[in-house]
């Protein structure tokens, strides 16, 4: 009886594994050189291409970017005016150079998936560049404020440093604050921001995407004032 049940169960698992073969993305992930070669063929200014290549290569190495999503993004950007594509890539390059995660692959929020989403929504390159710059602002502000409160290291690790759990915390916290301000219509002074952000962190910790201990420390330390400070700093780069 148990054997029969277990066999059934396994059938399901195997089915899930095989079912994957039916997904459009179920081809092998491209290699870093596939992506970098594609980038080379995009006809961007050579110095910019070199800088971006180096940042992306480091990102693939450390887990701050994935080849699958990056290649899809680069392919997308060939379909919009070159200057706009370059503007988007410049934000991504800068974020990578600052040691931020720009792409979490196919699970969760990230700059690259945000671009793909906005393109799917038919937004212009200009609008996407603007949103991306704001997202970068939230990342920089989040790191600066969390460091001030001793929740993350104060120094910038840089693109080549191995990923630390606090990198994901910064990303998710910045994303939650950004979602609240950009898409939920909230203002930095809205006290609801605290519940929104804490709830997000708590759920991500429950999924194992952020270590529980880190999420608990952050949620315990956060106040509406700290989050308001992040939101304000995101729009005032000169004060970061």
């Amino acid at each position: 009886m148990r054997i029969a049940l277990l066999s059934l169960l396994l059938g399901l698992w195997a089915g899930a594994a095989l079912g994957e073969a039916l997904l459009p993305l179920a081809s092998p992930a491209p290699s870093p050189s596939d992506v970098l070669n594609f980038l080379l063929g995009m006809g961007l200014p050579p110095e910019f291409t070199a800088a971006l290549s180096a940042a992306l290569a480091a990102g693939f190495q450390t887990g701050r970017a994935t080849t699958t999503v990056t290649l899809l993004l680069l392919q997308d950007l060939t379909k919009i005016p070159k200057e706009q594509g370059e503007g988007i890539l410049e934000v991504l390059r800068y974020a990578l150079s600052q040691g931020f995660i720009v792409d979490t692959g196919l699970a969760g929020s990230s700059m690259m998936n945000e671009v793909r989403k906005l393109l799917a929504l038919g937004r212009s390159g200009e609008e996407i560049s603007r949103v991306l710059s704001l997202r970068l602002g939230f990342l920089l502000a989040t790191r600066a404020v969390l460091a001030r409160y001793g929740l993350v290291p104060g120094t910038t690790a840089g693109p080549d440093a191995p990923l630390a759990p606090t990198d994901r915390l910064i990303l998710e916290l910045a994303w939650a604050v950004g979602d609240f301000i950009l898409w939920e219509g909230g203002s930095p002074a809205d006290p609801g921001i605290l519940g929104y952000v804490q709830g997000r962190l708590c759920r991500l910790a429950a999924l194992g995407l952020i270590p529980s201990e880190l999420s608990e420390r952050a949620t315990a330390a956060l106040t509406p004032e700290i989050l308001a400070e992040i939101a304000r700093l995101a729009f005032q780069p000169e004060r970061r």
């Binding site: 009886m1 049940l5 277990l6 059934l8 169960l9 059938g11 399901l12």
Partner: protein, 200 residues
């Protein structure tokens, strides 16, 4: 209303050793992975049967509805405790019976149990089979320990062992309670003149 079997949720004794249908297993697996839609399907399949369990213990539609909802929520949250080699319905009914018993305990602390709501519209009652109404009253008047075994036996069609499992009772006790419940119902019906003679 059809029997549970007619709705494809057969839970009778004859099927006891049948393995969990693959489709249901898949729903449970998906639920285990947090798929609430799959759990919604389980709720749809079993809500009536779970409601019958909670109603048998609580004797009140509103409380039984609440307990049914709570039972499905608790079952989902504790789904990892469900042993796949056991019959799913038995486990689910056990959860439901525990939720209902807790509600009963709480209710006792707070106030007297409300009267059964089943009397309804008197005109409707006149039109319906008065013998059935008399049996319903007789069941409602049973001591609460006896009602749940009666419902699980006569409505769900569960074998004695499973009733014991659901209610946490030895099979012997289930048997005794069923026997006494039947005798009480029969005596009540005779008293009311619904039935006249002894065993035919």
């Amino acid at each position: 209303m059809g029997t549970p079997a007619a709705k494809g949720v057969y839970i009778g004794g004859g099927e006891r050793r049948r393995p969990l249908p693959a489709e249901e297993l898949e729903l449970i697996q998906r639920s285990l992975n947090g798929d609430l839609e799959a759990w919604g399907e389980i709720v749809g399949r079993y809500k009536e049967a779970v409601f019958a369990v909670t109603l048998s213990i609580l004797r009140n539609y509103a409380d039984a509805e609440d307990a049914t909802q709570d039972a499905f929520i608790r079952a989902f949250q504790n789904l990892r405790q469900y042993d796949l080699s056991r019959k799913f319905s038995t486990w689910l009914f056990t959860v439901a019976a525990n939720v209902a018993k807790n509600t009963l305990r709480k209710r006792r602390r707070e106030k007297e149990p409300p009267l059964p709501e089943m009397d309804g519209d008197p005109a409707e009652e006149v039109q319906s089979d008065f013998r059935i109404e008399a049996v319903r009253r007789a069941v409602a008047e049973l001591p609460e320990n006896y009602r749940a075994p009666v419902v699980l036996y006569y409505w769900h069609g569960l074998p004695l062992e499973e009733i014991g499992e659901v209610l946490g009772l030895p099979v012997g006790t289930v048997k005794t309670r069923l026997h006494r419940a039947r005798a009480l119902i029969r005596a009540r019906l005779m008293e009311q003149g619904v039935i006249r003679d002894a065993l035919g």
